[in-house]
Symmetry: C2
Amino acid sequence: MDLRINFNRLKEDILALSQFGRDPKEGISRPSFSKADFEARDWLKIRIKDAGLTLRQDGAGNIFGRLEGEGKTIMAGSHIDTVINGGIFDGSVGVLSALECLRRIKEEGLRLAKPLEVASFTDEEGNLVGDFLGSRAFVGLLERENLEKGMTKFGTPLLDILKGTEFTIDSILNAHRHSPEIEAFLELHIEQGTVLETENKTIGIVDCIAGKQYRWCYFLGEAGHAGTTPFELRHDAFLGLADFALKSTQHVATHHYGSKLTIGKVSVSPGAFTIIPARVDFSLDFRSTSKETLDNLEKYILELGEDIASTRGLKFNSLLMDKTDPVTPSSRINAIMKEECQKLGFSSMKLSSGAGHDAQIMASVAEMGMIFIPCVDGISHSPKEMIDWDDLEKGANLLLNVLIRLANLNYS
Amino acid sequence: MDLRINFNRLKEDILALSQFGRDPKEGISRPSFSKADFEARDWLKIRIKDAGLTLRQDGAGNIFGRLEGEGKTIMAGSHIDTVINGGIFDGSVGVLSALECLRRIKEEGLRLAKPLEVASFTDEEGNLVGDFLGSRAFVGLLERENLEKGMTKFGTPLLDILKGTEFTIDSILNAHRHSPEIEAFLELHIEQGTVLETENKTIGIVDCIAGKQYRWCYFLGEAGHAGTTPFELRHDAFLGLADFALKSTQHVATHHYGSKLTIGKVSVSPGAFTIIPARVDFSLDFRSTSKETLDNLEKYILELGEDIASTRGLKFNSLLMDKTDPVTPSSRINAIMKEECQKLGFSSMKLSSGAGHDAQIMASVAEMGMIFIPCVDGISHSPKEMIDWDDLEKGANLLLNVLIRLANLNYS
């Protein structure tokens, strides 16, 4: 027997989901717990029920569809929330491919050794209060204080956002108490990079998810009149950042090839044409597949900030906001993935993930594996996000066959 | 006869005016046409009337106090509006010293050859719609379109601000029709720099007011995922600005010593931790006492922007927002100032002004002269703005004696 997903149905699901949260500006803006997200959730719940799966929602708003079986659960999924002005594939392809796999298994009447679940995790994109709220809640990796004091990316306290929902800090913190035991977690995702495209491969088998640090930093100088303060008396906080940005980027590009460093958010105060910047606050995001590199980069960043501050008469500060170590997927699952690719005739390669995923959180409680499919020009988190639909069909068929292998079903 | 100002009265006036617009955060926030400004205006009008001067207000909200005489007017003044979180001396010392001078002349009953006026100009700081609204209105240098489309620094259309006042676009544009003919304009101001302090001189006789360009520029790149986009595929708009900021600053400091360049306002889009900046908009302010240098800098800036854009795969754009040429005060007035300093026993020196002043606008219709007094550490546009009061007393006495010389009165 040669089970395949119903590709047209999967494509229709992706296009249907993409109608929720269309931004009048461009792309999709569907942060978790927004109106558009709740509409998308209602749609997803109906699709899960229509598939004949058992619908479940936990206290963090994670949504599951279950096919019963014995023992620990084999789970596959991702997220349906998006960044602001994001694309239609990031996250969605993982949830809806998993749904399609379970739907096909159900409608074919295959007998399962182990239970299977599709999962859609809340706020993978971290619009509310740091990345992976849902998967962290699922595995019990959240702290009450962070939630109670948490501010969303839109400047609203998390508590205020929750008031309009059926969820509370307590329900989120307690979600993991009701989580089933998970044996394996699989996530299909767009690569968000250009490796598969460049290497002309259809399937990426992830061999490492990069670790990262998020830091919120500032340089503090002194305001002054732009027309009268000579250069030698200036303490221009913005020039401190300019120096820092160029040096740190060059350092990573030169000494840690493959690692990344990004300054994405910048606020200059007081922020007037004629006033020398007194202060600049900025985000720092650096990532690597090597824990040693991350540790070295932390040290380097802090020293560079102090050096520049001391040279330019500024003060430097850097606050750690979030930190994850690199995560390695299960070698057993990756071996199965490779075998199934060969059986199916799909070209595949190992590659690392620079982006974070719910899968890395799930790795703390289960064997984990990730399937990447190419995305055009590596673009994601953008309205321009695009895939070759054929690649998705192949990725979803791989997911289906790996799920069946893991659920230990003999169906030959 | 040896006429001197009443210093205690002047100091009391400055401290009284400083009570309007105290910012709960810090310093003085008294932009023109704010509630605090209207309260300060009412207070100033009473002080002018109490001094026995003829009060006049024009259609731009400029306030004048006049001592009658024959022929063209000798005027002295400055402004009472402030930047947000500014100090108590910038502008105020010029208006209130001029008031004190006319008050002393009036109370001594000196017979004048020419009319004298104290002037307080609206919105010198450009909070409403570009610098020098009041003095530009006085000399007829405003364009209707700029006012009608004008947005204030607070993001409100100028038209909305005017609705709450007795002023209109028409009254501002017509103000100059009622302006008296001006023979000479004098402005006493804090230096806003450290030259006098460094050289240990009490009086600065301004020999040039720097010209400037204000530009609003951007680099346009491409957004991308901070974790997955390799450096060689990035088009990071913020790194373009970092490069531009360091190179342009170094160029001015190295090749045009004494000229200034400042990037004071920066906006990074989309502005998220994990997204490579697609666009950065920024202000550019460069100034010089040499028109040739300004022309060279304009050319350099535009070439540098294009070079960086081309190297980094970005697009560069630069829009001219405002431009003034360097202005040279009257050599006749400066010679009189120097003579009066010698008579009064005040140390003095020539120096240029990096900041712009109403005086440079008045220079388009009259002989002009500026008196600088030191300010502590060169700090202005800041709650830390401070002076040595003795310096102010000397500066105001110089103003008094120069006014009398210019009004052609024999009082020996």
